[in-house]
């Protein structure tokens, strides 16, 4: 056991480097995915049938061809076409496009489930199209879409574990190296626990975003209220509502 922890302490700086690569891919991929999701999600609600069809086709294309295929396409095939991108860019592109296409469906669905009365109200207030979307519809859809986006964010984090095949030394790669000095169980245990902790933190952040989004719509408590621990008396005063 002693040597396991010694090896871990020795490898720790490298594991942190790998963790940094994993986080860059996850967050970079998430940002790109969000941009793509909003563009395609709004695009697939357009009246213009050509643009709408194009957006849907792009969505189905990136959802239907596997993530790994896309990563390898960017890394192995694009250089043959004279476009050699750095591995990190390939990784972020692959993750962002794949999960952006999934999230676009979430964006589209959430916008569609904002009640029609809200649309009618924006017309009654003679808001412009962009005002409608930015000030009324999207904030409400945003609160609806966060739980599904959280799922895809975790999927994306898990998807990054393949990137050592496009030469990126991520968390998985460095725990593979660690295995050579320690028990198999120990090395992968460390790896799995680190991934789980990141996933858990990401989930907490997304839950906080959801509480904030709902509070801004005037539903539910603010983030600060949600985070303050409740004494039994205040909880009772709220009618025993779940915190």
């Amino acid at each position: 056991m002693e040597s396991n922890f010694e090896a871990l302490a020795e490898a720790w700086p490298r594991i942190l480097d790998g963790l940094w690569i994993t986080l860059q891919l996850t967050l970079g991929g998430a940002l790109l995915a969000m941009v793509i999701a909003v563009v395609l999600g709004l695009g697939s609600r357009l009246h213009n049938i050509v643009l709408r069809g194009l957006c849907r086709a792009i969505m189905e294309f990136f959802r239907g061809t596997s993530l790994v295929v896309q990563l390898f396409f960017f890394f192995f095939v694009l250089p043959q076409l004279g476009l050699a991108l750095p591995a990190m860019v390939c990784g972020i592109l692959g993750l962002g496009l794949n999960y952006g296409a999934y999230a676009a469906e979430v964006v589209r669905g959430s916008i569609n489930s904002v009640p029609t009365g809200q649309w009618e109200a924006t017309t009654a207030l003679s808001m412009s199209k962009s005002q409608q979307m930015i000030r009324v519809i999207f904030p409400q859809a945003w609160a609806l879409m966060i739980p599904s986006l959280t799922n895809y964010l975790i999927h994306m984090l898990k998807g990054t574990a393949i990137v050592s095949f496009i030469t990126l030394a991520d968390l998985t790669y460095h725990t593979e190296q660690l295995r050579e000095q320690t028990d198999t169980f120990f090395a992968y245990g460390v790896s799995l626990v680190i991934y789980f902790v990141i996933a858990y933190i990401l989930t907490l952040i997304m839950n906080a975003l959801e509480v904030r989004a709902k509070h801004r719509l005037g539903r539910g408590e603010s983030l600060r209220e949600a985070l303050t621990p409740k004494t039994p008396e205040t909880a009772a005063a709220e009618g025993g509502r779940k915190a």
Binding site: S66, V68, A161
Partner: protein, 217 residues
């Protein structure tokens, strides 16, 4: 050989891809889906019939498996059970990983069975076992079929992760061909096309099934 697309290379790699598709990708998808569907149902029922602290432990283990990468789980199992064939390891790991998703689907399905159905089984003095098998599960399954189908598709698209433990599935076959011939274009593109051709019609079918099975109590 320097053109954008070389049909000779495409025809040369296609049989290899299709062979890997049938021998690995399809087999893993079918067998792992079966494992996940059965194990998931077992987990969901188990969690509802044991005392709360034990249920909490089962839920935690499920969350842990679901929130950590399948690649790491594959490698873990591969290096732990070196004597077992990688393909078998892949099938079992995919089955277990996705069973944690399916357990959630079943839980939602079981929750969606109206309370009156439970009360009816009590009124008919059915045994607990009979209540589950004859009344609750058949109704819960109906609500879960589309979700299970969607997870099967997502598993199908995850099968390339098997290349991390040396299983020659479709993408691996494509990469090997690409490496030997210095041309990745045709192999990788065709692999993507095969994935798309197989998964898109299936997902259309499932969404039609979803509409047909939509059930109003």
């Amino acid at each position: 050989m320097n053109g954008l697309w070389d049909w000779d290379a495409a025809w040369a790699v296609l049989p290899e891809l299709l062979l890997a598709f049938v021998q690995v990708t399809l087999i893993v998808t079918v067998l792992s889906t079966a494992i996940a569907a059965v194990l998931g149902l077992f987990i969901a029922i188990l969690r509802m019939s044991v005392p709360k602290p034990i249920a909490a432990v089962i839920t935690f283990i499920g969350d842990f498996i679901r929130m950590t990468p399948i690649v790491v789980q594959l490698l873990f199992a591969y290096w732990t059970f070196l004597t077992i064939e990688p393909l078998t390891i892949g099938i079992v790991v995919f089955g277990i990983h996705y069973s944690t998703y399916m357990a959630e689907v079943y839980r939602a399905g079981i929750d969606s069975v109206p309370k009156g159905q439970w009360e009816a089984t009590t009124a008919l003095s059915m045994s607990k076992r009979r209540a589950w098998t004859a009344v609750i599960v058949p109704q819960a399954l109906r609500a879960t079929v589309p979700a299970l189908g969607n997870y099967a598709i997502s598993m199908f698209k995850d099968t390339p992760f098997l290349l991390t433990i040396g299983v020659v599935e479709m993408v691996r076959a494509g990469l090997t061909f690409g490496g030997n011939n210095f041309r990745y274009m045709e192999a990788i593109t065709l692999a993507g096309v095969i994935f798309l051709l197989a998964s898109y019609p299936t997902s259309l079918l499932i969404s039609r099934l979803e509409k047909r099975l939509a059930y109003n109590y």
